[in-house]
């Protein structure tokens, strides 16, 4: 018995997608909706200005300043605004703290929600089907097998599925042996993945 695919879909090539996007852009330029300069400016912002270095500066400050840490955990949006950080896709942020007994990890199973003002734009794997499907069902396995992060069973894993406009991100644990480092040196240890929860900060 053979089966016939129903309306077999055609996946576009990169060249076809590029042509269609350029066609849409051209029409929307003529309609007064877009400009090439605005496209370039927006792309430049997320390439060079808004990225995980901003979240890292928040984390480092929280590590050295207990009062700031308390404010960050109480109201992340305001605490980030103190440092001039906030805006699009981070209008309402919540920071969740890793401890000896708790490891947090963020996802968006329904689309690709992510705290842009502190982490920049998400990596492709965060937006792709594999991570979104599995991180809520088998986070311990995904962290171990796909990210090389072994979380012992004694540590609770908390997965935050960003289904609303609240934007969650992780305050990772400060690495051991960093007592003598200043805020700037500490920030250099904070990786994007450590604020997603798929990694931990670098050791000095």
């Amino acid at each position: 018995m053979t089966t016939t695919p129903i309306n077999p879909p055609k996946v576009a090539t990169q060249e076809e997608i590029a042509a269609r996007v350029k066609a849409l852009e051209a029409i929307m330029i003529e309609k007064g909706i877009m400009t090439p300069a605005a496209v370039d400016r927006l792309a430049e912002i997320y390439e060079n200005e808004v990225g995980p270095q901003l979240g890292a500066s928040v984390v480092a400050k929280a590590w050295v300043d207990p009062e700031y840490r308390a404010r960050l955990l109480e109201d992340a949006t305001s605490a980030c605004a103190e440092l001039g950080i906030g805006g699009l896709q981070g209008e309402d942020m919540v920071v969740v703290e890793n401890t000896d007994g708790v490891h947090n990890v963020i996802t968006c199973t329904l689309c690709s929600c992510y705290p842009w003002p502190v982490l920049g734009l998400p990596p492709n794997w965060y937006k792709g089907p594999q991570y979104r499907a599995r991180i809520v069902r088998e986070p311990r396995k995904v962290l171990r097998e796909d990210f090389g992060l072994d979380i012992p069973d004694s540590v609770e894993i908390r997965v935050w599925d960003s289904s609303s406009e609240m934007r969650y991100w992780v305050l990772p644990r400060r690495p051991a042996g960093t007592e003598d480092l200043d805020e700037k040196a500490l920030a250099a240890l904070v990786t994007r993945d450590s604020m997603i929860g798929t990694g931990i900060p670098r050791s000095p």
């Binding site: 996946v11 990169q14 060249e15 997608i17 590029a18 042509a19 269609r20 350029k22 066609a23 849409l24 051209a26 029409i27 929307m28 330029i29 003529e30 007064g32 909706i33 877009m34 400009t35 090439p36 300069a37 605005a38 400016r41 927006l42 792309a43 912002i45 906030g86 805006g87 896709q89 981070g90 209008e91 309402d92 329904l110 990596p123 492709n124 794997w125 089907p129 594999q130 991570y131 499907a133 599995r134 809520v136 311990r140 396995k141 995904v142 097998e145 796909d146 990210f147 069973d153 004694s154 540590v155 609770e156 894993i157 908390r158 997965v159 599925d161 289904s163 609303s164 406009e165 609240m166």
Partner: protein, 233 residues
């Protein structure tokens, strides 16, 4: 809608494709596609919830296989055509042109207001919080069950939490309701809560990983008191 975008708990998709030192942009066209959220948003094509619904209406196989930012271009095209601003025949014609002439220039236009909008949008965002006089029906600590229905149109009530019982951990105030706004029916602000579900509640004791929970945000109409579970069944 019960769409393929609703991926939580789906099995068989394989390992997470992690790319070391991934660039922000993988191709030039991605920059233009990325601009197709904020700029058509400014032009009144959609709100963020409608934008997501536009993506959800892609063919499920294409949704899974296509590069991410193609989804954004798809949503802009979907609503641009629906609004009568974009003409499907013209899109096809222009696409053929750029396929044959990939280096042909774009039309020229400058727009200082749009440049100002881009910087302001990044800096200030587009808050989804909305005032409402409605009193919250639930409080932190309440045990609640997610209503197990399959609405047509846009919803954020993921399938893997439907019918599941958890505890409210946070109450966030009132926000645009996606099940209304995403379907073009206005903001209809509703209270939003974060509900904590145990792994065993979501997946059953045998399949669940040990010592873990999932937090999922719900709008008030998604939940009922846990005691009503039996009555609803």
């Amino acid at each position: 809608m019960n769409g393929v975008h609703d991926l939580g708990g789906t099995d068989g998709l394989g390992p997470v494709p992690v790319e070391e030192n991934e660039p922000v942009w993988h191709a030039e066209w991605e920059k233009a596609a990325f601009g197709m959220f904020s700029m058509p948003f400014r032009a009144g094509f959609f709100g963020v919830d409608q934008f997501r619904y536009g993506i959800e209406q892609m063919h499920p196989a294409i949704y899974l296989l296509s590069p991410y930012y193609e989804h954004w271009a798809h949503a802009a095209e979907h609503y641009g055509v629906e609004k009568g601003v974009l003409d499907p025949a013209e899109i096809e014609e222009r696409t053929r042109f750029y396929l044959e002439n990939p280096d042909a220039p774009l039309p020229e236009r400058s727009d200082p207001d749009l440049m100002g909008f881009v910087d302001a949008a990044v800096k200030h965002g587009a808050p989804a919080r909305r005032e409402s006089t409605a009193e919250p029906k639930f409080a932190v600590g309440d045990r609640v069950t997610v209503v197990d229905t399959s609405p047509r149109g846009h919803t954020r009530k993921a399938r893997y939490v439907r019918g599941k019982t958890g505890v409210i951990e946070m109450a966030h105030g009132t926000f645009i309701y996606p099940d209304s706004a995403g379907n073009g029916e206005g903001d209809d602000p509703q209270h939003v809560y974060t509900v904590k579900f145990t792994n065993s509640e979501l997946w059953g004791a045998e399949a669940a990983e040990p010592n873990g929970v999932v937090y999922f945000d719900v709008w008030e109409p998604y939940i009922v008191p846990a005691s009503e579970r039996g009555a609803a069944a």
